[in-house]
């Protein structure tokens, strides 16, 4: 197991290296300069010198790699001038994390409850209603929900503030203003979980071990809780674990709609103003989240399923 994790971590480092290298060169291909068109030549020279942009591209790459290895991600050039990008990103993490954590706390239970209900009441009117909602939630993108929720509940009915309250992090007022973005962020996840769980749980409920469990004297509810649910969770790891790691990701459009200064908008904004280091660092951040999440998915499988944990070769007579 430990060897496996080490192997995976090594592969992760190599993948990271490849990705940031590609990013480095691709970003330089994008037209645009650090100093805008009307800038004075002195300023341009000074800027290029400060950010090593006067060196040949290959040398820049070497400097960039050397800095990266020492966790020096450089400074933001224009968006947050002279601030180390590490600070820019880490400053934005808490808010994004808070928002997405709330969203997950809402998404997972609601999604699971809907999935379980639709299995237990399969083919009833309730099940059909849930299935319809699931299709609706999956097909409509979150920014439309964001905009509609904002228009109806914040603008027309005035139940919620239109924008996120940024005065303090933990006040009730802040939480209240987070409800609409949380909802907008949650619908897709709820639908995905409900859909997966419905399919998996239905299969588990009709399995032989459920029959045996009932034959053992367990009630339907006991059998479902003790046997069916856990078995149907194995494939659900694939959906839920990435949700946890995407906590840090943020959503560009929802953040824009509700005026949330989160991580989501960082990449497009930094690209448009040629803030190279900020772009790369943000991309690096996302890449590492994605890779770790994939690693966690694989590891979580083995947590839930002993057959994966122990490998195949141990069957004995």
């Amino acid at each position: 197991m430990l060897g496996y994790i080490l192997k995976r971590l090594l592969a992760l480092v190599i993948t990271l290296f490849l990705i940031i290298s590609i990013c480095f060169f691709v970003i330089r291909i994008i037209p645009g300069a650090v100093a805008g068109e009307g800038a004075l030549p002195e300023i341009r020279v000074a800027l290029e010198k400060r950010y090593h942009l006067d060196l040949p591209l290959w040398d820049q790459y070497m400097v960039f790699l050397r800095n990266f290895v020492t966790f020096d991600f450089g400074e933001s050039i224009s968006l947050y001038a002279r601030t180390p990008v590490f600070n820019v990103i880490s400053g934005k993490i808490p808010l994004t994390l808070q928002l997405n954590l709330f969203s997950l706390l809402f998404t997972i239970p609601v999604g699971m409850i809907l999935g379980i209900i639709s299995v237990l009441k399969k083919n009833s009117a309730l099940d059909h209603t849930i299935s319809l909602l699931v299709i609706f939630f999956i097909s409509v993108p979150s920014f439309i929900f964001g905009a509609v929720l904002q228009y109806v509940f914040a603008f027309k009915l005035q139940l919620f503030p239109i924008l996120l309250n940024l005065e303090s992090r933990w006040s009730f007022k802040t939480f209240w203003s987070m409800i609409l973005p949380i909802l907008a962020l949650s619908f897709y996840g709820i639908a995905t979980i409900a859909r997966y769980l419905r399919a998996e749980l239905f299969e588990a409920l009709n399995s032989e071990y459920m029959l045996l469990s009932k034959a053992k004297g367990l009630s339907q509810a006991q059998s479902t809780a003790r046997h069916a649910i856990r078995n149907s969770f194995i494939p659900l790891c694939n959906v839920i674990v990435p949700m946890f790691t995407n906590l840090l990701g943020g959503s560009l459009v929802v953040e824009n709609i509700f005026g949330i200064p989160g991580l989501g908008s960082l990449i497009p904004r930094s690209i448009t103003v040629a803030d190279y280091y900020l772009t790369i660092a943000t991309l690096f951040f996302y890449t590492i989240i994605g890779l770790i999440s994939m690693l966690l998915v694989d590891l979580s499988y083995s947590l839930v399923d002993p057959r994966i944990r122990m490998g195949g070769g141990k069957v004995r007579e």
Partner: protein, 354 residues
């Protein structure tokens, strides 16, 4: 010695609603199970063997409807009990062993917990006592080194071992009735006989009444005291194992027996087959369901259903051939010979009053 009856099934009618119509799975099944005996229910696939036991234990799928009939167990009708009551009986007083041990155990739960679970829930045992009892059970069904295997998962067990575990689970709460639904079909032959021996030993030890569902007549001869022959949702013939093997009366039983190879069969011998296929239970035929495949069928077999005729106190058969007015004829000589060599040279009594 007349033994007391533990289970009495009366006139059980059961339908399945499907998209293509109503399947009449059971059409008046009646039998009784006496204390300590083994009752084998034999028949082709789809004859209603498993459905009968699932109806008794109420483990049927949602689309099944019990139309009428009763299953009396200790003075209560199992078929009309509310769900919480029947689930107290299942596993406690009536236990089941299923066909496929590979899929019957929960793949992600340790073997030990799957056994203790029953004890904890049914008998309200504390975990420690349940664990001790589970280890004892594992030992008694022949699992070597139970303390170690207690903490293993089903995938670490072979098929035969898993079936032993399923039997241990079934016996954990000291049931009175054990229903074995083709418990050896999914296992290879050597393991089969081990499992049969285990069930027999357990039955003797605990004075269990066993319902044994199978389509393997070899198994029937090995384990059963009495036999019900089922076809198209009905019991066609019922009798002691001697009655059925030495003096079968229903043409269907004849066909079943003659389509079984014997040790003396040579590889070039053709195995007797029953022509045709079982009837479509969406539209069961009006007369004897077996009539269209029966070379001894008479006109009346196609028109009216035969009642159960009494052959002896223990032996009944539902065929018009048993009617006093039916033409008399012998059990076909070729069958008699086949039965004889299968039964180790014991020739059945000639002219068994047919």
């Amino acid at each position: 010695m007349e033994r007391e009856t533990v289970l009495q099934v009366n006139d059980l009618h059961l339908h399945f609603k499907t998209y293509s119509g109503v399947v009449q799975a059971l059409r008046g099944v009646s039998f009784e199970l006496k204390k300590g005996e083994t009752l084998a229910i034999v028949g082709e696939s789809g004859s209603g063997k498993s459905v009968t036991t699932k109806a008794i234990t109420r483990l049927l799928s949602q689309n099944a409807m019990i139309l009428r009939g009763s299953a009396m167990f200790k003075g209560t009708d199992l078929l009309s009990l509310p769900e919480p009551e029947i689930s107290k009986i299942r596993g406690n007083q009536i236990s089941l062993v299923f066909q496929d041990p590979l899929s019957a155990l929960d793949p992600v739960m340790k073997i030990g917990r799957q056994i203790t679970e029953t004890l904890i829930i049914n008998k309200k045992m504390p975990y420690k006592a349940a664990k001790e009892k589970a280890l004892e059970l594992m030992d008694s069904v022949g699992i070597p080194n139970p303390a170690k295997r207690f903490n293993e998962y089903p995938f670490q067990f072979s098929g035969g071992m898993r079936q032993r575990i399923v039997i241990a689970i079934a016996l954990s709460c000291d049931p009175e009735i054990l229903i074995c639904d083709e418990p050896t079909t999914a296992l290879d032959v050597t393991i089969q006989s081990q499992i049969l021996d285990l069930i027999k030993a357990m039955q003797k030890k605990k004075d269990l009444s066993v319902i044994y569902i199978t389509h393997d007549l070899g198994v029937v001869a090995n384990v059963a005291d009495r036999v019900c022959v089922m076809y198209a949702g009905k019991i066609l013939e019922v009798g002691t194992v001697m009655d059925i093997f030495y003096n079968p009366r229903h043409p269907y039983t004849w066909s079943l027996l003659s389509s079984m190879p014997s040790l003396e069969s040579k590889s070039e011998d053709k195995l007797m087959v029953i022509p045709g296929a079982p009837p479509n239970m969406l539209h069961p035929p009006s007369g004897d369901a077996f009539a269209s495949r029966n070379r001894y069928a008479m006109k009346i077999d196609f028109e009216r259903e035969p009642p159960l005729f009494k052959v002896s106190d223990t032996h009944y058969a539902a065929t018009w051939l048993m009617h006093p007015n039916a033409p008399k004829f012998e059990l076909p000589e070729e069958l008699r010979a086949r039965f004889a060599d299968r039964m180790g040279g014991v020739v059945p009594p000639k002219g068994g009053a047919l």
